[in-house]
């Protein structure tokens, strides 16, 4: 997210998947789109069928590569070298879209004299403090150069040595095609083909798209990989235009929602920063002045352009968003006198990200855990350390469909010899599945789609909303008579989501669950209301900072603009030009392509008719087109701000990136990312190679967690010479709770395997279909060997390099069991989002199985209702298909007797 946020202003996919069909060239990198997003991939295929080249650059030849026109194998972790090479090519051969770059990016902005770049400092940027491993020694060293008048200095000729364009050019000069081939292991020809295909298919008349996913994010330099893609798309003029943009393909159907609302420790809904435990944030006023300032103790980086909250750009409206949020949460109790209950919010004093919290669990300072729809015992990096952490808890509440590895570790983990030694008390509360509850999903293209409840969940299963709602009710009852100050947040929390009666299901029956909360009321609170008359708001433009509006998440405002008008439920597939404006609701404000002002030139006319999206209509004096303009609708292209203007008035009529204070896309990011204003290639933390580009070997700001369970290989460790990466298969989902309890999926991919080349297999005596062991400093796993020519040895830095690939889907709970790939991954975290590095680590392989270990057995009885008996306490319309009611006689019963005796279920 920060990669996109720093480049453009918002940390989310910039377009929608259907827009890929409008693309003239698609580069898929760090993504296995056909396998992980097969339904969205249809749009990429439509582009291919229209003649657009599909390029796949990836260490692993997957089903996406099979569909690509051009596949380039690279070394896992070398993506920035490859992308840097593309940037160098675009600049060196003059393929950048000049008018676009000049007007819509900060290419002409001059950077302060204090700045020094990676080419001068051997891979570091100015301001690195080696004692804290952060860039906080010289705040302002990455900032814009400000003239005496207070204006930012610029050079429209792009020749000043410290203008962003020249800085970028100097920075990427060493990323030559030959360097790319040396570092990445691809051939020169392959690299040049990609560079030329991208360049030819961008510009006024053509646009190209970049698609990425966890193959980029799960690196210690992941955020900078995304930044590099941002620079490419800005140079080529692809942002905000149909068929262009950057599709961040998120890894779950609603994880976009999980960061929008969010479940992250350092954000409030709508990407408002969580207040910190610092004096500047002690009061609401203080926070509003400094809230978006990245120059504070825990979000250290060079301050860059502003030292106070931005007064220009859309974030100048932070007070409206924050106060409306507090009114939504605390209702009548939140008044101007008490800072709208700002004091109730927890203030951050450290890193409470998931993996840091797991370390605390392991060390014993966190005693209990609510685990909802997650399976860290198999799905988290360094899964063994996660399991050790779970074993150390006093109590745990697990909500999920099945007893997965995190719920049943106390008896099912083969490494647990005696369940009596495990002190963790586990409460397993079965959860409802998607079709068994109302709600929304927010998918990767920022699209909210409502789903209706179709059937009741069986037995005791309840939705997560039911659980949270009733937990909240009970807590409020528990504390309702307390007079303690610290209990006020619970007492004052608005919690009015009770439904008027049980839901009516599509078959006409009333739901038997009479106390399910009314999710539409939750969505309405998220949309926002006027406090005086509870009228629903039409969008975030109506938000006020005087307590007269309440809004649970400002970016979602507009999803429910009137009674019975649930836009998330809308399913009209009609095209308007190139967008589908009436299918679901996309934030912000139903804009499908973000930054779409950039699809028109500075005068408001589309860059080309072929690629028109929004444009200025002189007669009506407003922006119009196929999408909701991501811009002030009435602001003419020729508008220039008066001196001292604030907020959106401070942005000109040709400044498309309205979340940035200068309204421009950032080639150079003066703030927003903690490991540098520009991407620099660093080696993964575990790598067989020295960094060929700089003396700095790895990301200097990455965080390590030394622990006996989290050992790391030293760089160029001779014991671990093989590069390993992880990925998904279409047939399974993540660590298995949603797929390895389903026979129809298990039979498609029944066993854990490792993919390796015939060359490597020959060297190690590993047979195809046989068993092999993968060893890392974290431990060993055994798996079947898939020896295939899809995996090739690469020539990196002049030497033959082998890579292997591991799917991540198996564990010890389910109909099929297998080794946990995540047992091999270390916990090392990138500094921006605490993302781990799962896509590049080192290992050794050998033939055979592990000795003297206990192996998991497939669990049938504990997880499946045996045979075809109906589930108790569950009416017939909520039974899984094929279950007979008790008392049915006749030949059906006879047939089922036979079926029970058969081996196959």
């Amino acid at each position: 997210m920060p990669g996109l946020g720093a480049s453009f202003g918002r940390g989310a996919a910039t377009s929608f998947q259907g827009d890929l069909a409008n693309s003239d060239c698609i580069l898929i990198m760090g993504s296995n789109m056909a396998e992980a997003h097969p339904v969205g991939f249809r749009w990429a295929l439509k582009a291919r069928e229209r003649g657009a080249p599909l390029i796949h650059v990836d260490p692993h030849f997957s089903r996406t590569s099979a569909m690509a026109d051009l596949y380039v194998a690279i070394r896992a972790g070398s993506d920035i070298a490859f992308l840097g090479g593309l940037i160098n090519y675009i600049i060196a051969h003059d393929r950048w879209f000049k008018d676009y770059v000049l007007h819509y990016t900060n290419a002409s902005t001059i950077i302060t004299e204090e700045y020094a770049g990676a080419e001068q400092l051997d891979g570091l940027f100015a301001g690195f403090d080696s004692s804290s491993s952060r860039y906080e020694a010289a705040p302002g060293a990455w900032g814009y150069s400000v003239e005496g008048s207070g204006q930012v200095a610029t050079d429209p000729t792009l020749e000043h040595p410290r203008c962003v364009f020249q800085i970028v050019k100097r920075h990427f000069e060493r990323y030559t095609p030959e360097m790319v081939a040396w570092v990445c292991g691809c051939t020169l020809g392959e690299f040049l083909r990609v560079a030329e295909l991208l360049s030819r298919n961008s510009g006024r008349e053509r646009t190209g798209a970049i698609v990425y996913a966890l193959g980029w994010t799960q690196h210690s330099t992941g955020v900078q990989m995304i930044r590099a893609a941002g620079i490419i798309q800005l140079l080529l003029g692809n942002m905000g235009r149909p068929g262009g943009g950057i599709m961040a393909m998120r890894g779950h159907c609603s994880i976009q929602g999980s960061t929008d609302i969010p479940t992250l420790y350092d954000l409030l809904p709508g990407y408002i920063p969580q207040p910190l435990a610092v004096p500047a944030h002690a009061s609401l006023t203080g926070y509003l002045e400094h809230g978006h300032d990245y120059n504070s103790a825990y979000h250290s980086s060079a301050a860059g352009f502003w030292r106070e909250a931005p007064t220009a750009g859309y974030w100048a409206n932070l007070p409206k968003f924050m106060i409306s949020l507090l009114k939504a949460w605390y209702g009548e109790a939140a008044t101007a006198d008490n800072d709208y209950c700002y004091g109730y919010l927890p203030k951050l004093d450290g890193d409470y990200s998931q993996l840091a919290t797991v370390i605390r669990m392991y060390e014993g300072t966190v005693k209990g855990l609510f685990l909802i729809g997650q399976n860290p015992a198999a799905g988290a990096p360094n899964a063994e350390l996660n399991r050790a952490a779970l074993r150390n808890l006093d109590w745990m509440v697990v909500r999920d469909w099945f007893e997965h590895e995190s719920a049943n570790f106390w008896y099912a983990d083969p490494r647990v010899t005696d369940p009596r030694q495990i002190k963790t008390e586990i409460f397993f509360l079965p959860a409802a599945a998607m079709a068994e509850k109302d709600g929304t999903l927010t998918n990767t293209e920022r699209l909210l789609q409502w789903h209706d409840k179709a059937v009741d969940p069986p037995g005791d299963c309840r939705s997560d909303a039911w659980f949270m709602y009733h937990l909240g009710l009970r807590l409020k009852r528990l504390y309702q008579d307390s007079t303690l100050e610290r209990d006020a947040p619970i007492r004052d929390l608005t919690w009015d989501y009770a439904a008027e009666g049980p839901a009516i299901l599509p078959d006409g029956n009333a739901s038997r669950i009479v106390d399910e909360p009314d999710i539409e009321r939750v969505l309405q609170e998220i949309n926002g209301r006027r406090t005086v008359d509870r009228e629903l708001l039409k969008g975030f433009a109506e938000l006020k900072d005087d307590g007269s509006t309440a809004c649970g998440c400002w970016i979602y405002s507009g999803v429910f603009p009137a009674d019975r008008d649930n836009r998330a439920r809308s399913r009209n597939p009609a095209l308007r030009g190139s967008t589908y404006p009436e299918w679901g609701f996309a934030w912000p404000n139903n804009r499908r392509v973000m930054y779409n002002r950039a699809s028109a030139d500075p005068d408001g006319r589309p860059w080309s008719e072929r690629k028109r999206l929004v444009w200025w209509d002189d007669a009506e004096a407003k922006w119009t087109g196929f999408d909701v303009p991501d811009f002030d609708v009435g602001k003419p292209p020729g508008y220039r701000p008066a001196p001292g203007a604030r907020g959106m008035d401070a942005l000109a009529g040709d400044a498309p990136f309205i979340m940035h204070p200068d309204g421009r896309g950032w080639l150079f990011a003066p703030n927003g990312v903690k490991d540098g204003p520009l991407p620099a290639h660093y080696e993964p933390r575990e790598s067989p190679f020295a960094n060929a580009l700089y003396k700095t070997q790895t990301n200097p700001t990455l965080r390590e967690f030394p622990s006996p369970l989290n050992q790391l290989a030293i760089p160029r460790d001779p014991d671990f010479p093989i590069i390993a990466t992880t990925y998904r298969l279409t047939e399974h989902y993540l660590s298995g709770p949603m797929s390895r309890f389903n026979s129809w999926l298990n039979e498609l991919q029944p066993e854990m395997f490792v993919e390796l080349s015939p060359e490597l297999a020959g060297q190690r005596g590993i047979e195809h279909g046989g068993w092999m062991v993968v060893t890392t400093p974290r431990g060993e796993i055994e798996a079947r060997a898939m020896v295939t020519h899809r995996v090739k040895p690469l020539t990196v830095a002049g030497q033959t390099t082998h890579q292997i690939g591991l799917p991540i889907h198996w564990g010890y709970a389910g109909e099929t069991v297998g080794a946990i790939a995540n047992d091999l991954i270390p916990i090392i975290l990138d500094p921006n989002v605490s993302m781990h590095e799962a896509k590049a680590f080192t290992c050794e392989v050998r033939a055979g199985k592990l000795n003297n270990i206990r192996r998991a057995k497939p669990i049938y009885a504990a997880t499946r209702a045996h045979g075809d008996e109906p589930i108790p306490d569950t009416p017939s319309y909520a039974q899984p298909e094929g279950r007979q009611q008790p008392g049915q006689i006749g030949r059906f019963r006879l047939v089922r007797l036979f079926r029970r005796r058969s081996k196959v279920t």
């Binding site: 056909a34 396998e35 097969p38 339904v39 991939f41 249809r42 295929l45 003649g51 030849f61 089903r63 996406t64 590569s65 099979a66 569909m67 051009l70 051969h93 030559t176 095609p177 051939t187 020169l188 020809g189 040049l192 083909r193 030329e196 295909l197 298969l729 279409t730 047939e731 026979s743 129809w744 999926l745 298990n746 039979e747 498609l748 991919q749 029944p750 066993e751 395997f753 015939p758 060359e759 195809h768 279909g769 079947r784 898939m786 295939t788 020519h789 899809r790 040895p793 690469l794 020539t795 033959t800 109909e815 099929t816 094929g882 047939v895 079926r899 058969s902 081996k903 196959v904 279920t905």
Partner: protein
């Protein structure tokens, strides 16, 4: 009277449903992403049991074959050049000393053609042959052509004899271990009668599996092959859209990129009755021999002495 009615009833048949335009599948394997949604949708709609959990090692294909309990099967064929030892091939373009100038060297050679290998994927299914040998072989009349010209097994009539299993040149049908009867793809007869499209076609995310009237599909498929040829994919051709010298047209035909045997399909499917020609001849000779022998035996006294 009731007894009489019960006696006559099995011989009274209602009128069969009125014939409709023939419907079928066109499977365009160039659009197949190997996701197996078709396999799962079919199993879920028809509530078929799983076939066990066995790692086949055959690329990503652990389903292995069509059977009574698997009516869609995605084939994976890896066609990659074997490595030439350890090192990769040298760069296609010699490394220059100065930065590349696109004006002075030809990128066309780089942009066209590639030796990177390919991974073929195709979703296999019952072919619903226009002249189905399984239907001809069935002694009980369980196998019929329904009103959509699809081949359909009526499960309550099938006696599990297995003649259809031997007759199918594609190896589509087997007998189920659960109830001993033959089962195969119904072309979602139940869904078609409610004007829905088959489950596999509905689930296919890239429209590789296309369902519709056969006439329309054949026209569409021919256009598709032409377009692929125009784009330089000369290998593309249709399998089974037209009758061949030895076999009828298929109600589920495919667009393939290599020989049929590469996908596990017969290169030249033939009506199995043709194999019986020799058997009929021998049977006729044998009958003749018996007639002569019997005549000799019975009237031998009169003829010989």
């Amino acid at each position: 009277m009731i007894a009489l009615a019960k006696l006559i009833y099995p011989f009274r048949r209602p009128a069969p449903p009125a014939a409709k335009p023939p419907m079928g599948f066109f499977t365009d394997s160039t659009l197949c992403i190997g996701c197996k949604a078709c396999e799962v949708a079919c199993k879920q709609w028809n509530q078929l049991p799983s076939d066990g959990f066995e790692f086949s090692g055959d690329s990503y294909d652990n389903t292995k074959t069509l059977s009574a309990t698997t009516w869609r099967h995605v084939v994976f064929v890896e066609q990659f050049p074997a490595g030439d030892g350890i090192a990769r091939k040298p760069p296609v373009v010699p490394v220059p000393e100065t930065p590349i100038d696109p004006e002075t060297f030809s990128l066309d050679a780089l942009l066209s053609g590639s030796d990177q290998g390919r991974w073929l994927m195709m979703s296999d299914v019952c072919k619903h042959c226009s002249a189905a040998p399984c239907e001809a072989a069935c002694p009980t009349g369980a196998l019929v052509f329904n009103e959509f010209s699809n081949v359909y097994i009526q499960n309550d009539i099938c006696n599990g004899c297995g003649y259809c299993v031997a007759a199918c040149p594609f190896g589509v049908i087997t007998r189920s271990p659960h109830d001993g009867h033959a089962h195969k793809c119904t072309l979602c007869y139940d869904r078609q009668r409610d004007e829905l499209i088959p489950a596999c076609a509905k689930a296919c995310p890239t429209e590789s599996i296309q369902f519709g009237p056969m006439e329309e599909l054949r026209v569409r498929a021919a256009k598709r092959v032409d377009e692929l040829h125009r784009r330089g994919i000369a290998d593309a051709y249709l399998y089974g859209d037209q009758p061949s010298a030895t076999y009828s047209a298929l109600g589920a035909f495919s667009l393939l990129l290599d020989k049929p045997s590469v996908y596990g399909l017969p290169d030249e499917p033939a009506m199995p009755q043709r194999n019986l020609g020799g058997d009929y001849a021998i049977a006729a000779l044998g009958a003749l021999a018996w007639i002569i022998a019997a005549t000799v035996a019975l009237a031998g006294n009169a003829i010989l002495w």
